[in-house]
C-alpha cells in the first residue's frame, strides 16, 4: 500500500474518533463505578465524575450482607447454568438431524420450526398456556418456555452444513451411527459456534426479567437478579440492611443502588471478552452467505 501524507492525517482522525467512541462506551459504567465507591459527602457536593472521591466500599459490604440480594444473585447464576445446559442440548438435538438431506419429513419439520420465527402467539396466549400447564409462579417457567431459540438452532445448523459431508459419509462407511458421528466429528469441529451459542443463551438468561415479571409475579423469592435490581432502582424494594439500620441518607441509598448495578454487570464483563474471538466467528455464519 502506498501511504501518502493525507492518508496519515486520515489515520490520526480515525484513531481520535475511535478513542472518542471508547470513551462514550465506558463513561456510563465508569461513572456508576466511581459513584458506588465514593463517600456520601463527595456525592452530595457533585464532585464525582469518573474517579471515586473519599474512597468507600461500605456500599458493596452492605449489598453483600443483604440476604435477599445475594440469594437472588446465586439463584440467577444457578438458573443461568441450568438454562444454558438445557438450551444447548435442545439446540444440538434439533440442528443435527436436520442436516441429513435423506431424512424423511425433513422439509416439513424444518418449516414447523422456521414458521415460529415469523408468527408468535403473544404474551397473553402464553400466559394462559402456562396457567393451564400449572407453570405459573413456578421457577420452571423461567427455564422451559424459552429453552430453544429457533434462531440459534438455524445458526448451528448452518455451521454443521459447512462441515464437509464426505467426513460424515466415510464415518458411516466405517459403521459409525449418527450419535457417534455427532459426538466424534460434529461437536469437536464446532467448538467456536457452540461457545457463541452458549454465551447467547447464558447472557439472555442472566439479563432476562420480563418472563419473571409476567409469569412469576407472586413468587418473589425466585426473582432473577435483574428484576430485583429493577425494584431496587425504582425504590420499591430496598436493600434490607439499609432499612433495618435506619440509614436515611440519600447519598447512601444512592451508592447502594450503584453497587447493585455493578454486581449485576460484573459477571458479564468478566466472561464476555474471553469469548470474543469465538462469537465474532459464530455470529457471522448464519448472516452472510456469499
Amino acid at each position: 500500500m502506498i501511504r501518502s501524507k493525507s492518508n496519515k492525517i486520515g489515520d490520526v482522525v480515525i484513531v481520535a474518533m475511535c478513542v472518542l467512541l471508547i470513551f462514550i462506551c465506558v463513561v456510563p459504567l465508569l461513572n456508576v463505578l466511581a459513584r458506588s465507591l465514593s463517600s456520601t459527602e463527595a456525592l452530595i457536593r457533585n464532585e464525582v465524575l469518573l474517579w471515586p472521591k473519599g474512597w468507600n466500599v461500605e456500599a458493596y459490604q452492605t449489598v453483600l450482607d443483604d440476604r435477599v440480594f445475594t440469594t437472588s444473585l446465586l439463584w440467577t447464576a444457578m438458573l443461568t447454568v441450568i438454562c444454558t445446559v438445557v438450551s444447548m442440548s435442545l439446540t444440538i438435538l434439533c440442528a443435527y438431524p436436520l442436516i441429513y438431506d435423506n431424512l424423511k419429513g425433513r422439509k416439513l419439520i424444518n418449516s414447523v420450526f422456521v414458521l415460529t420465527m415469523y408468527f408468535s402467539a403473544g404474551i397473553i396466549p402464553n400466559y394462559l398456556l402456562y396457567k393451564a400447564l400449572g407453570l405459573l409462579d413456578k421457577p420452571t417457567v423461567l427455564i422451559l418456555p424459552n429453552a430453544l431459540s429457533v434462531f440459534n438452532m438455524i445458526l448451528l445448523r448452518s455451521f454443521f452444513f459447512g462441515i464437509p459431508e464426505s467426513l460424515r459419509e466415510s464415518a458411516e462407511i466405517d459403521g459409525a451411527g449418527p450419535i457417534r458421528i455427532l459426538l466424534r466429528i460434529y461437536l469437536p469441529l464446532s467448538t467456536s459456534v457452540l461457545a457463541t451459542l452458549a454465551l447467547f443463551y447464558a447472557v439472555g438468561r442472566w439479563n432476562g426479567f420480563s418472563d419473571a415479571l409476567m409469569y412469576m409475579q407472586r413468587n418473589k423469592q425466585y426473582y432473577p437478579i435483574q428484576l430485583l435490581l429493577y425494584n431496587i432502582l425504582q425504590n420499591t424494594t430496598q436493600i434490607e440492611v439499609a432499612t433495618q439500620e435506619g440509614f436515611f441518607a440519600p447519598g447512601l441509598s444512592e451508592t447502594l443502588k450503584m453497587a447493585s448495578v455493578m454486581f449485576a454487570t460484573v459477571p458479564i464483563i468478566l466472561v464476555y471478552p474471553w469469548l470474543q474471538r469465538y462469537f465474532i466467528h459464530g455470529v457471522t455464519i448464519g448472516a452472510i452467505k456469499g
Binding site: 480515525i14 474518533m17 475511535c18 471508547i22 462506551c25 463513561v27 456510563p28 459504567l29 456508576v32 465524575l49 435442545l90 438435538l93 434439533c94 443435527y96 438431524p97 441429513y100 431424512l103 424423511k104 414447523v112 415460529t116 415469523y118 408468527f119 408468535s120 402467539a121 403473544g122 404474551i123 397473553i124 396466549p125 402464553n126 400466559y127 394462559l128 398456556l129 393451564a132 400447564l133 422451559l144 424459552n146 429453552a147 430453544l148 429457533v150 438452532m153 451411527g177 449418527p178 450419535i179 447472557v203 439479563n207 426479567f209 420480563s210 409475579q217 435490581l229 429493577y230 432502582l233 450503584m258 447493585s260 448495578v261 449485576a264 454487570t265 464483563i269 470474543q276 465474532i280 455470529v283
Partner: protein, 312 residues
Amino acid sequence: MREAKQLRLNRTSNYMKRYWTLYLMLLLPIAFIIIFRYIPMAYILNAFKVNNILRPPWELPWAGNNGFEWFIKAFRSRDFLFALRNTFMLNILDLVIGFPAPILLALLLNELSFKRFKRITQTVVYLPHFLSWIIISGLALRLFAPNDGFVNIILARMGRNTIPFLNDPAHWVGSYVTLGIWKEAGWNTIIYLAAITAISPELYEAAAVDGASRLRRIWHITLPGLRPTIIILLILSLGRILGSDFDRPFALGNKMVRSVYNVISIFVYEYGIKGMQFSLSSAVGLFQSAVGVVFLFSANALAKRYGERGVW
C-alpha cells in the same frame, strides 16, 4: 409385485434401522415447539370470545359484533391508539437514526489500520450489547439525573441549563433512541465488518493505483459491497416496524413520560397481565403479530422487485 413390496419394506426397515436415532433426537425439540409455540396459538381464540379469566377460550361464547368486539374496543380506546402511535414513532426513529449508525461505525472501524487497537476498540463497543436494559436504565438514571447526573453536572459547569433527559416526553424519546444506539450499534457492526472482508482486495488495490482517496474508496467500493447486506437488514427492520420490545420501554419508562413510553407491549402487559383483560389484550397482540407478518412479506417482495435477493 410381492417382491417389489418386500424390497420396499426392506429399504424402509434399513432406513429406520439407520436413522431411528435421528427421529429420537428430534422428539424433544418437536415436543417443545408444539407445546410452547403452537399450542399457545389456540389461545389466540380468546381475542374473539367473551372475557373470562377462568375458562379456556374454546368453552366460551363468541364476543359481540361477530366476534370482533375487542378489536373495535381497542381501536376506540385512547390508550391503545397512543400505544400504536408510540410504537410506530419509536420504531421509525430507531430505523431512521439507529439503522445507519452501525454502518458508519463499521466503515470507521474498517479504516483502522492498527490491528491491536482495532481489537480493543471492538471489544469495548460490543460490550453494551451484553448489558440488560435494567442495567442500562440504572446507568442512564445516573448519567442523565436532573441535578446530579454526569451530563447535567458537566452542562452546569459549562454554564448551561440542565436538561430533563428522562423526565420530559420529548427528551425521553431522544434518550430512548440514543441509548438504543449506544447498546446495539457496536454489536451490529459485526455483520457489516464480515461483509466488508468479503469484498475483493483487488478492487482496493486497483483504486490505490488510480490514486483514489480514502473517502472515494469508501464511497465507490466499500458501500456498494455492503449493499446486499444493508438491504437484507433493512427488510428485517421494516418487518419489525410494529414489533415492540418490552424490556427497553419498560426499563426506561417512568410515570412522567407515560404518554410516550406506553407502546403496544406495555399496553398488553398492563391491560392483560395486570388488568386481567385477556380478550382485549389478545386482540391487540394478534393485531400486532398479523401486521408484523404483512410488513415483513411486503418488505421482502419490495426488495425482490428491485432486483435484490431478499431474505427468502
